[in-house]
Symmetry: C2
Subunit: 313 residues, 2 copies
DNA sequence: CTTACTTACGCGAATCGTAAGGATC
DNA sequence: GATCCTTACGATTCGCGTAAGTAAG
């Protein structure tokens, strides 16, 4: 049994049971992969793939089990290499954060500034995407850490850690009727105007929806955006009332806009950090997490990585 | 990086950093191992072993980390092979239980009888040893399941599962003064006679010691044995009063002996099952555990394997 | 007829064992 | 001097790529 064989195996499964594509991805020949997989099947004494004539059409039951373990082993092989890098160059290295616009724009800058001054030699990169995309980046090893609010649960490969709770503000132009309100803001007040808020599956959008639904209101959402800057721009233009993450309102920069606390109208959202359970994290990666969410010490993160496993086996 | 290299690495560490012995154990040449380890060190870019001139004297810090991960990978490689066996021969296979005399003699027979009738094709074997020995058998992969009462905690590689609580009986010849006691038995009553009980580190012996200590009594233990049969034999001979596990008294067989419940005198002990956290257990292994301790369903055991990890990393 | 996998074959590389060399205890 | 590891070298094996063959859609 060789690691290379496992690599072939996993890649074939990843490419939808297409041996040729796997060969291309791995920069090798297709017959080589075929042969090695057969050799492995012979050695283990089980078929891993079901072949219909000369076509791979499915994975056998033992094959699924074998793939699962093989992936783990390859992950650990990668971890071995990272250990090497870590000790060769304690300070240097790279760290890739996958996150959403809102986090990157409003929550992360402070953390990143602190991180860069502490680890000037670490190449930090930020990849943006939808919550689903960023989860998959981490699952696929393209990023080390995912940071998002929505929809990054339910990946058994990832350990999720709560960072902080937050809620919404309503933003309106400064001469807007809602600014003169003497009583507390209600959902009905908000629903009376055209609304501008986040796209579905982004930045706690579903908490907004459910609040209106629970109140029996059908708000008129005239525009949805992925990022807060777009929302604010159109609010400035008078297109409607914005509902944004409270942390995304910057009094110094957002001239002409007024934020009204709406924390009592919506259920609060929790921003989470996600890391691959079985990935080897460099020392500075733990520090990054601690800088972002001080309660997440290295010990706590490592504890969470090991426990809370429920990947239905 | 190749699995073979990791195997060499781990074996060298296991043989006390002696490359030659590792070579012998693995039936290969010593220069081969040396070379492969060096190649791996080159590939990873770190020294794994500290060499004093031409002698391996220690493991480096990254080396410890690398060894830990390598062991895991090799374990999983072995699991892959087991998966093959499992599916080739769903009913057949082997299962090795490492346990102490008391368990093998009094607790296990019922379980084993049921198991054998259910899986007649499984080659079941039982290895006996001290709690420490049986723990190490499982850690080293020589046995699949450890069953014991004492001293098999504190192995981070093992997951421990409580099976049942039990306590002690006093056994005496049937004409012994203690049989005529009209009031409840006390520790002082027992300590008044020469005692025969288990060897240190066996079958809850330390619970017996602490009970006497707490009562300020210094019992006269005239004989210690590993197994209950020896204790009963010498009690029959009138050598003293026996303290044994309650489950080890068999009224039908133990003619001439009387058991007196002593559950109120000693803290109860818990018999536990231990399995390697990262080993692949065959389906029938889970069934064996369930037969022995019905509350330990396959789901519960698997849950315990994954969580409750605290291997101080 | 195209796509996709298998078989066959030859090259180059890697692994392993033997033998000799040097360091440490 | 004994033990233990490294270096050197040759033989075998192994993995990989090219080319041809065959089955499925």
């Amino acid at each position: 049994m060789k690691l290379q064989q496992l690599r072939y195996l996993v890649e074939v499964a990843k490419q939808g049971l297409n041996v040729s594509e796997a060969a291309e991805k791995l920069h090798t020949s297709q017959p080589g992969i075929s042969k090695q997989i057969r050799l492995l099947e012979d050695e283990l004494g089980v078929q891993i793939f079901i072949r219909n004539g000369k076509r791979v059409v499915d994975v056998t039951a033992p094959g699924r089990e074998i793939l699962r373990i093989s992936e783990r082993m390859l992950m650990q092989a990668q971890n071995l290499k990272r250990i090497g890098e870590e000790f060769v160059n304690v300070e240097g290295g790279s760290l890739t954060i996958a996150t959403t616009h809102t986090q990157a724009r409003y929550a992360l800058p402070k953390t990143i500034k602190a991180f860069l001054s502490r680890y000037p030699k670490v190449r930090l990169s930020i990849k943006q995407g939808s919550p689903t995309q960023i989860s998959e980046m981490v699952v696929d090893g393209e990023a080390d850490i995912a940071i998002a609010t929505e929809g990054i649960d339910h990946y058994p490969e990832l350990a999720m850690l709560d960072c902080y709770d937050w809620n919404r503000d309503i933003v309106v132009p400064q001469d807007h009727p809602l600014t003169g309100l003497t009583r507390p803001l209600t959902l009905a007040d908000v629903a009376a105007y055209p609304l501008i808020t986040y796209d579905f599956a982004f930045t706690g959008r579903n908490k907004i929806n459910s609040a209106f639904e629970a109140a029996g209101l059908a708000p008129n959402v005239v525009l949805t955006a992925i990022d807060t800057d777009v929302i604010k721009t159109y609010v400035s233009l008078g297109l409607g009332v914005g509902i944004i993450a409270a942390m995304a309102f910057e009094p110094d920069r957002d001239h002409g806009l007024v934020a009204i606390d709406a924390g009592h109208l919506f259920e609060s959202s929790t921003t989470r950090i996600g890391v691959r359970r079985d990935a080897y994290l460099r020392g500075y990666a733990f520090d990054f997490i601690s800088l972002f969410a001080p309660q997440l010490s290295r010990e706590i993160v490592q504890g969470a990585l090991m426990c809370e496993i429920d990947d239905g086996e």
